[in-house]
Amino acid sequence: MNLRLHIWRQAGPDATGMLKTYDVANVSEHMSFLEMLDVLNEDLISKGEIPVAFDHDCREGICGTCGMVINGRPHGPVAKTTVCQLHMRTFKDGDEIYIEPWRARAFPVMRDLVVDRGSLDRIIQKGGFVSVNTGNAQDGNTIPISKLDADRAMDAAACIGCGACVAACPNASAMLFTAAKVGHLASLPQGQAERSTRALHMVLQMDAEGFGACTNHLECEAACPKGISVEFIAQMNRDYLASAIGGRD
């Protein structure tokens, strides 16, 4: 199939960007979206032009490195699918495709489709862990954990830190990402000791990074490639309130 792409080009963090148009021919339906961009880039290099910068690594939907907005949708049109796992059979001959980076104040564009998501790491740094040093642990079977709780923890822990939830949110809020981590640890006995302070510190950091507030648009859940449920946001709000009202720090 033949496609027309409109891609956001921006030379650096401080440069102004704009959409540029490229035609790509003979795209196979078995290609992944990123392989289609690879072909475009090889072509640009052969013409002495600068290829399109985009982030990617595992190309298996697990590392969370890839991410771009395709025709207005983070990671593109297929639900629960990262862009590296999106295949061209979803598109048809003659399609025009708009490709842009994640847009959010807390995710500055570094170049073209590459953004800096360091803000997500700094949220984790504020409490997204269990404070246990190596060597402290007791036998792994000492505390039975019901399959239900383990499964729920895993549902939340499946977050890949891609930032699509932020890109989808009209307020560019990172609530779903933050709630996924809070929910993961709150579902397990190991996470209880620091439960309420964790929520408080992580939410405060989220605000400090310039992410917006959550006003329940639910766009995040729809865009999330791992299907993280907004229920975790409600749960985090309870933990946060318990900590904020209880005056615990």
């Binding site: 190596t134 019901s146 895993m154 822990a157």
Partner: protein, 637 residues
């Protein structure tokens, strides 16, 4: 040069305990006076960085990713082994040790493997305490599955995302230390060289991938946890950015590279679909617990699988290896698939595939149970191929997956360059010529959480450190060299992209140094690689500059090192006149096509010393002494 593996004396079972008792300690108040650089934040690097910081050392951690959580370890699906014997099925430290030595085709160091099996149980405990959501039974206890090469159930898992969950555990532990100011994290930084001062590793040269700035970073010791080199084949199951630069640069600075020819080809990957293919996707080995592998009995049978009756199917693994069947080790399962396809009985486009069929399991257990066990893998398969594996058998084919070779290290995981430690897939130590499934995650975390915290302390406690600054002549020279390399690459202005060279190198390596090797092919490769390298330095093109985010330049730098390293791999493969594990030399096989080891001549680790680009490296041999296991011919029949 004398290779000393520094294996402690005494009985196998007591070596590690005794060694820990003998190692000198650094006084708690003095720990903050020592600094260490950790390159890599995968399982091995992140666990080491976190643990060393907890102890009080000053840690700087480097990764080329935008976040430490993205290391390639994240992609591991199937699970992690540990000798817990929770299933009461006869597992023990000894059995895990034995399975690993045997699985590695008797080419690993006994003492290291035994220690690995010993600390495996603590890994699970530590991860549970961190909140890793391992799969549980309804009673609330940890669940296990079986993996290839073992007859017990000792693999712990978190759905199909075990690597992700273990890595996130280690990443979180490390981020906690970042918050506490004990780890300084450098994202988007690519190590380009090792700095050796007075014979000791004292720093690295690193390039900021956003600004292009190249600088030196100094410390009292350097740890490389930079993963494997499978991407020398271009197509592999590794993440796209995985590369050999860090370890190869250390090699050029004097560190010996051991057994580079030992590469693992994984039997269950999704077959290639076209020449635009950028990587291959693994389907976890755990699928072989319930899936049955088969091809049609007749050559060139193009009927759809449901039209081929039972009696006309060849379940070749069950036929050839009745006691391990579909759970035979990887090297054996891969070669058997190749054999079937070479015999004209492969399925799918180009005949490069075999079936992995779940029909029986679905009949026996129901679709729900299968979905619970492998749901996300089935979804991934369908997304990529457009076929539904609940209805049609999967098509799979072997692909490059893991590299057992790596920098040579002693029992303390220190290379022959004092102060340079190597952890995880980057070292050569524990898997011999073939790695068993679910053992890489175990090794990475064993090295990082439970070995390096002790052995690094032992190194520091010996003292004798001079103060070294970024102004040291060695540091400045290395920075200049790296800068020159970048400007040379940018000034070639030829016609071919880095990827086009990488693809060509990869396909050459797959043909000549892949699943099966022979003298003729390897000799041809050794002739062709220098030609390709020559062309690279004459005809490469990289658009853009060195002072901006430039992904073509990143690739160019990596491919330049692959083009030298490939030669080392072929040299090693050509010298090893035997077949063992992942190294199958066609000249050395039994009558029924099994690998034929030669213990009289090759029972050693081959550690190569760098002597210059294109010049033959010097071989050093570390004899492997087996005091506790009997060197047997591997049989899975």
């Amino acid at each position: 040069m004398e290779l000393n593996s520094n294996i402690p004396g005494g009985p196998l079972q007591q070596k590690w305990d005794q060694h820990r008792a003998d190692l000198k300690l650094v006084n708690p108040a003095n720990k903050r006076k020592y600094s260490v650089i950790v390159v890599g934040t995968g399982l091995a690097g992140a666990s080491a960085a976190a643990t060393l910081a907890e102890l009080g050392y000053n840690v700087s951690a480097f990764t080329y990713h935008d976040s430490a959580r993205r290391a390639h370890s994240i992609a591991a699906q199937g699970g992690i082994n540990a000798a817990k014997n929770y299933q009461n099925d006869g597992d023990s430290v000894w059995r895990l040790f034995y399975d690993t030595v045997k699985g590695g085709d008797f080419r690993a160091r006994e003492a290291n493997v035994y220690r690995l099996a010993q600390v495996s149980t603590s890994i699970i405990d530590q991860c549970v305490a961190q909140g890793v959501p391992f799969a549980r039974e309804y009673g609330g206890y940890l669940s296990n599955r079986s993996f290839g090469g073992a007859q017990v159930s000792r693999t712990f898992y978190a759905r199909g995302q075990t690597g992700q969950q273990l890595l996130i555990g280690a990443y979180q532990a490390m981020m906690r230390q970042v918050g506490l100011g004990k780890v300084k994290l450098y994202n988007k930084q690519e190590m380009m060289d090792l700095i050796v001062v007075d014979g000791r590793a004292r720093g690295i040269v690193s390039r900021d991938m956003v600004t292009g700035k190249i600088e030196s970073y100094m410390a009292d010791a350097v740890i490389l946890a930079t993963g494997g080199y499978g991407n020398v084949f271009y197509l592999s199951t590794n993440a796209k950015a995985c590369n050999v630069t860090a370890t190869y640069r250390a090699h050029k600075r004097g560190a010996l590279f051991a057994n580079p020819c030992y590469t693992q080809i994984h039997p269950t990957c999704i077959p290639q679909s076209g020449d635009y293919q950028s990587k291959l996707t693994l389907m976890s080995e755990s699928l072989r617990n319930d899936g049955r592998i088969w091809v049609p009995k007749a050559k060139g049978d193009t009927r759809s699988p449901d039209q081929i009756p039972e009696s006309e199917r060849d379940y070749y693994l069950e036929r050839k290896y009745p006691s391990f069947g579909n759970l035979s080790p990887r090297d054996i399962a891969s070669r058997a698939a190749k054999e079937a396809c070479d015999d004209g009985r492969g399925v799918g486009p180009g005949g490069l595939g075999v079936y992995l069929d779940f029909a029986d399991a679905i009949k026996r257990l129901g679709q729900e149970v299968i979905a619970d066990r492998y749901g996300n893998l089935f979804e991934m398969y369908e997304r990529i191929t457009g076929e539904d594996p609940y209805k049609v058998p999967m098509r799979i084919y072997p692909a490059v997956h893991y590299t057992m070779g790596g920098l040579w290290v002693d029992y303390d995981l220190m290379s022959n360059v004092p102060g340079l430690f190597v952890l995880g897939e980057a070292n050569f130590s524990d898997h011999g010529a073939n790695r068993l499934g679910a053992s890489a995650l175990m090794q990475g975390l064993a090295d990082g959480y439970f070995v390096i915290p002790y052995t690094l302390g032992g190194y520091f406690a010996k003292g004798g450190f001079s103060t070294v600054s970024n102004d040291a002549p060695e540091a400045r020279a290395a920075v200049t060299e790296a800068q020159n390399k970048v400007s040379t690459l940018l000034s070639i202005n030829g016609k071919r992209s880095p990827t086009s060279f990488h693809r060509e190198l990869g396909s050459l390596m797959w043909d000549k140094c892949g699943m099966a090797r022979n003298e003729k092919g390897l000799t041809e490769a050794l002739k062709r690689i220098p030609e390709l390298r020559d062309e690279f330095w004459k005809n490469l093109t990289i658009p853009g500059t060195g002072t901006e985010l430039n992904q073509s330049l990143e690739l160019g730098l990596r491919v330049a090192d692959f083009l030298e390293f490939a030669e080392l791999m072929c040299t090693d493969a050509l010298h090893r006149n035997e077949s063992c594990g992942g190294h199958f030399r066609e000249e050395y096989q039994t009558e029924d096509g099994e690998a034929k080891r030669n213990d009289d001549e090759f029972c050693y680790a081959a550690a190569w010393e760098y002597t210059g680009v294109g010049s033959k490296p010097t071989l050093h041999k570390e004899p492997l002494v087996f005091e506790n296991v009997h060197l047997a011919t591997r049989s899975y029949k």
